[in-house]
């Protein structure tokens, strides 16, 4: 895959002396935050990292957070790894490492991908290394790599990235050895009820990523140590009035961009379409309507890319384009 390149300032094929950070060495604590969309596997990626670190003899925590929303909506997960017991609790607002499974999340302020990035030593972005990027601030080491391409190569599909994302995190963090990573992936996927073949494919995917990426250097241990405090990160209670929809603005969900949930986009062949109307009826979201010429047109701002329309079109008149990801 020619698109797979690794880039970014401050990367090095480093040398963490794992023994140096063993339980008796200087204090180590690395806080990792994953961002993705529901279904991409950031929760499992966090678990793979946590399990891998645990199997390598470290203390760890991992946990996800998601709102009331569904597949495709922004999701985050967290991992803390250290060589001393970790009493700190709560979401990680100042991560050392940020991994982003879906670069469209950079455009979604609610996802908060860059929150606290000033403290982070590195940011990993899944995507084409040559695509234009918004301003990310200049204190980050940026690693851009086509994880989705690697997933398609190994698993034949773009959807679930967890093994690769977990492996990338394990690699960057530098304290998980290959053997423990494999064990972690196996245990997490077996736990999810995947078949042996699928588990093996995910292990292979994880290893591809682990071997292709370098480790990163984190802020000085002394510096990290300053922020080691074992505290409970407070959760600020939300305004109860913010718990419900604005029912006096009926239909205002059209203001949302659920089109960013798509990985692949259906494309109607206007020359062959017979105007049977089935795609329009069967689209769960009602994202297809008739245009002035009496042909179906897809509302790209809202189509979630379920591809039911493509599957049911009686003349196979709906094609597929990979969504251009930044």
């Amino acid at each position: 895959m020619s698109t797979q390149t690794v880039r970014g300032a401050g990367l090095e094929q480093r040398s963490v002396n794992r023994d140096g950070f063993g339980p008796s060495g200087p204090s180590l604590r690395i806080r990792v935050r994953f961002h993705g969309r529901g279904g991409q596997g950031v929760k499992t990626a966090g678990r793979i990292l946590g399990t891998g670190a645990f199997l390598s003899g470290y203390h760890c925590q991992d946990f996800p957070v998601y709102g009331a929303e569904r597949r495709g909506a922004p999701v985050a997960s967290f991992a803390r790894i250290g060589n001393r017991p970790i009493d700190e609790r709560g979401v990680i607002s100042e991560p050392d490492l940020i991994l982003v499974a879906d670069a469209t999340l950079l455009d979604d302020p609610a996802a908060g991908v860059l929150a606290g990035n000033e403290a982070a030593s590195a940011l990993f972005l899944n995507g084409n290394p040559d695509a234009p990027l918004p301003d990310l601030g200049n204190r980050l080491h940026l690693i851009r790599w086509d994880l989705t391409g690697a997933a398609i190569g190994r698993l034949g599909r773009a959807g679930a990235l967890s093994a690769g994302l977990g492996a990338a995190a394990a690699r960057f963090v530098g304290i998980v050895a290959e053997e423990q990573l494999v064990e972690a992936i196996r245990s997490e996927f077996t736990h999810l009820g995947l078949s042996t073949g699928e588990v093996d494919a995910n292990v292979a995917f994880g290893l591809d990523v682990f071997r292709a990426l370098p480790t990163v250097s984190f802020r000085d241990v002394a510096e990290t140590e300053e922020g080691l405090g074992d505290s409970v990160v407070p959760m600020i209670p939300a305004d109860p009035l913010a718990g419900g929809p604005n029912v006096i603005s009926p239909g205002n969900a059209t203001l949302r961009d659920t089109g960013a949930w798509r990985l692949e986009r259906p494309v109607i062949d206007r020359d062959r379409c017979t105007r049977c109307g089935l795609c329009l009826i069967r689209c769960p979201d009602g994202a297809i309507s008739w245009d002035e010429e009496g042909l179906p047109v897809i509302d790209e701002q809202h189509c979630k890319g379920c591809l039911i329309c493509r599957q049911i079109c009686p003349i196979h008149g709906i094609g597929l384009e990979e969504e251009a990801r930044p």
Partner: protein, 309 residues
């Protein structure tokens, strides 16, 4: 076999207006959402949706709502009680002249199978008994979907859920028959796959005063474990294998609106779904598959016999 259609010949005849806007945060490919959109399209926009806690309450997350109609959120156990309150309020306002009669609304309960078949059953039973004039739409995704796909009494025999990792040992509660035994004017099963059948049933129920109840098989990609694109195909297979009979009961007498004369084996429907994978891998569980097939065959033997006499 298909029954004759009285109101709509094809999907082209369905009304064009939409009352569920795109942009909801429900899963890509949600069959429950397809059902709701079609149901609302045919029922019209003068509706107040009374929505029990479940996936569909997530349609409306602050500050957004895809509904172009009105909405009331209730607890899982009480959507039909909420419907009674709204119906009474509307009737009183209209009767006293405080609301013009042309601003009347249809009251539509929207609830998942957990609410419908489990926690909310008593309030609905009471509402049917009182002859409440309302519509009830249950989207049956065969589990407590919103909280992580735990088993509900609608989870079918042998299916994996978060709380039945070895497969459920029971058969689905038959909500159609439970409702029918209350003798409401109208009960029907519908499917997101067959929009014309769904629309016809709404039209047949429309003139009737009293409880009008519908239960739809809601294909659920994450819960059932299939690629979203397969959603409509699975809904179709459920009908073709005879697992999801399309029928209605008017004043208690049942008629099937589609009888699959040459039923496909149930495997065709089961095998593509991760929740049934343990029936095929690593070893085939012929005992469970045969039990599922036998239940379907028994159902249709009885149904066809009674419908022909």
């Amino acid at each position: 076999m298909k029954v004759t259609r009285e109101h709509y010949r094809s999907v082209k005849d369905l009304p064009s207006a939409e009352f569920v806007a795109p942009g909801s945060p429900l899963c890509a490919g949600c069959g429950g959402l397809t059902t709701l959109r079609l149901f609302h399209k045919v029922l019209g926009g003068k509706v107040v949706v009374v929505n029990a806690a479940g996936c569909m309450t997530l349609m409306a997350t602050y500050p957004f709502t895809p509904l172009r109609s009105s909405w009331l959120y209730t607890t899982m156990a009480s959507p039909s009680a909420g419907a009674q309150g709204l119906r009474d309020a509307l009737d009183i306002l209209i009767e006293s002249g405080r609301l013009p009669a042309d601003e009347n609304l249809e009251v539509l309960v929207l609830a998942g199978d957990g609410s419908t078949i489990d926690m909310g059953l008593s309030s609905t039973s009471g509402a049917i008994h009182r002859g409440l004039n309302f519509w009830y739409l249950c989207y049956d995704n065969e589990a407590y979907g919103n909280t992580g796909f735990q088993a509900s009494p609608a989870s079918p025999l042998g299916s994996l859920t978060a709380t039945s990792p070895l497969g459920t040992p029971w058969s689905k509660k038959d909500i159609f028959e439970i409702w029918r035994s209350h003798r409401p004017p109208y009960v029907a099963t519908i499917s997101p796959h067959d929009a014309v059948d769904l629309a016809e049933k709404i039209e047949r129920a429309r003139p009737l005063c009293g409880p009008k109840l519908f239960v739809s098989l809601a294909t659920c990609p994450p819960g059932w474990g299939f690629e979203p694109a397969m959603g409509d195909e699975l809904a179709k297979l459920a009908i073709e294998t005879g697992i999801w009979p399309l029928k209605e009961a008017t004043d208690g007498s049942i008629r099937h609106t589609f009888i699959p004369e040459h039923r496909r084996p149930v495997e065709a429907y089961l095998e593509p779904q991760r929740r049934y994978r343990h029936l095929f891998h690593p070893d085939r569980r012929d005992d469970v598959i045969a039990a599922i097939q036998a239940a379907v065959d028994r159902y249709w033997d009885a149904a066809i016999a009674s419908e022909r006499c």
